[in-house]
Symmetry: C2
Subunit: 333 residues, 2 copies
DNA sequence: CCTCGCCGTGAATACGTAAACATGCCTCTC
DNA sequence: GAGAGGCATGTTTACGTATTCACGGCGAGG
């Protein structure tokens, strides 16, 4: 391994001067700088990350935790996060945590292997997370939040999104509306459901309990649930789904029974993932500005890494209804 | 920060003993071990990753490079890679490299920020990659390979997969077969095309040049290309696509023109991503054992990190045709 | 002409861990 | 009973970098 010491010898300067050139900011005469840069190049020098991290107490890496990377929503989120981190010159360590096993990420921040953590899928205030927050470790919650926790959070207005869906379906004249829920541990699922239910109540069309099915944000569970709903004597004429993956499963459940979307049943999703726009589904959905949210979260995290004394901040982004083919312009019933 | 020194003081032993307890293997009396463990717990000690990395010359992290994380194939691959790395106690740093910008990953390995690299989407022998191989850095190519390079590689038999598709379509009686290509820089695209073309030639049904369209493994490009093919006076009766994302785009292109799959045109994809099995598409495709390949690649990389003198190894996995609804059991023409 | 201060550079040190080397005691053997 | 050897533990060092402190020289001001 080539060290700054080797470069120093080659350039006929001290190791300190090499370090100064590396940092750029120090005062080094132009001639010396040139000589050192040439020596670095000639020797094929690259500063050692571990030594640098030890000295500066910065790993140059941030950790990102997602719950299920095969849910297409997260790759879209990750793409934006990754871009923004590149721009900031930070590396990204990723955890695909099934269940409440953010343990690895929290261990990493305690060990100093990452400078901060971006959680996209918190579900609860786990013991290690509580510890991390108490120790004032840089943590930002993106997408899913924790209601009563003082911690940086970037979310979308999921209550408003649920309201949009409810108003849209009721105004279109639907009388029997169904709902495919998300996991009750996800704030997104809860808020979307709350907005949806409240608005249905306000409009005098409360959600019939028999048309509500539990779910876990997975395609297969949603598909099965939709088949159950459609097999009922009085099936729903429209179904709102807690996220797009659920909605795609619902559409597939309908197709599998020969039930047509939207002629026989409308389906509305949530997130506006790329696939929602594809012809085979043409899914009406509530869009949240994934990319903007991701960028914001990364910036907040980097700010917090640089200044841990900042007050906890919350940013909420607006939701927007995107109408496509899965809901016709005239009611189905 | 709590250091092993602090723990040592607290337990009334030397720092070396704390380190020995940490390593587990050293000889420490049971009583001392207990005392040290208790002190660690009481003090809330967690070993510093940077210092450890500097001392052991191991980062405990491996780097993974993908080209386009929004292509659902890669999340599936990453899920398996991530699982296997967890099992090995390694962290994963991810690069989502658009274009030939594996630069970040190669810089990271030179700096020692990662112990090895897993490339899932190499396209060419870039300068930095060549350097890394010359320096005998631990590098494994997964999914896409480089034909004439002596380097660990885990691929599927894409030539055989292309043959399977060709034989299937010809035996089903198709006379006008089209092909949506992948990027010519991807070994997978080239090999699939080679197997497909060669077999069509052997069977006396060479690919008509006017039914071949370039592509980039993206949904939108494939959709547009499919519309061009279907708009021709003599459209194809079956289209083979260089990967599943391309095939899904092709199906959507057909739908957008009111052309039915499989009644009017058959579509065959490649990869068998999860969505291929969903009802809306029901895509016939060539499966490659993504999970097995990922596991193998991770194990190979870890072996190589532990012993850089190993000879370069290649593992090729078999391909398998999965027939679904996008190809009916009787020819369309 | 002398002194003060600044600028460029070198020397020395600290970061936290792992491991090589050193030490003292206890036991076993002849 | 004395020497040898093993075992538990302490002392010391090295890893590579960033930074603080020290120093010599030179220019400016009185």
């Amino acid at each position: 391994m080539v060290t700054s010491q080797d470069v120093a010898r080659l350039a006929g300067v001290s190791q300190a001067t090499v370090s100064r050139v590396l940092q750029g900011s120090a005062r080094v005469s132009p001639e010396t700088r040139e000589r050192v840069l040439a020596a670095m190049k000639q020797a094929g020098y690259h500063p050692n990350a571990a030594a640098r991290a030890m000295r500066t107490r910065r790993a140059g890496t941030i950790g990102v935790v997602v719950a299920d990377i095969t849910n297409p929503f997260y790759p879209q989120l990750l793409e934006a996060v990754s871009d923004e981190l590149d721009r900031a010159g930070q590396r990204m360590t990723l955890w695909n945590a099934t269940g409440p096993s953010e343990g690895g990420a929290l261990e990493a921040i305690r060990e100093g292997a990452v400078d901060g953590l971006l959680f996209t899928t918190v579900t609860e205030m786990s013991k290690p997370l509580e510890e991390a927050l108490q120790r004032n470790e840089p943590v930002v919650l993106l997408h899913r939040g924790l209601d009563h926790i003082g911690c940086d959070q970037v979310t979308a207005d999921n209550v408003a999104g649920g309201r949009l869906a409810a108003r849209y379906l009721v105004r279109a004249g639907h009388e029997r509306i169904g709902f495919l829920r998300g996991p009750q541990s996800a704030s997104t699922a809860l808020h979307r459901e709350r907005g949806f239910r409240e608005t249905l109540d306000e409009l005098g069309h409360p959600l019939p309990p028999e048309l509500v099915r539990p779910g876990d944000f997975s395609h297969d569970t949603a598909r099965a649930a939709m088949r159950e709903l459609l097999d009922r004597p009085q099936p729903p004429s429209a179904v709102f789904c807690a996220n797009d993956l659920t909605a795609l499963g619902a559409v597939d459940g309908a197709i599998s029974l020969g039930v047509r979307v939207p002629e026989d049943v409308w389906v509305v999703g949530y997130d506006d993932i790329a696939m929602a726009a594809w012809e085979a589904y043409g899914l009406t959905t509530v869009r949240q500005p994934i990319t903007d949210m991701a960028r914001m979260a990364v910036r907040m995290l980097i700010e917090r890494i640089e200044d841990r004394t900042l007050p906890a901040r919350r940013r909420e982004f607006p939701a927007e209804l995107v109408v496509r083919r899965s809901t016709a312009h005239t009611p189905a019933s």
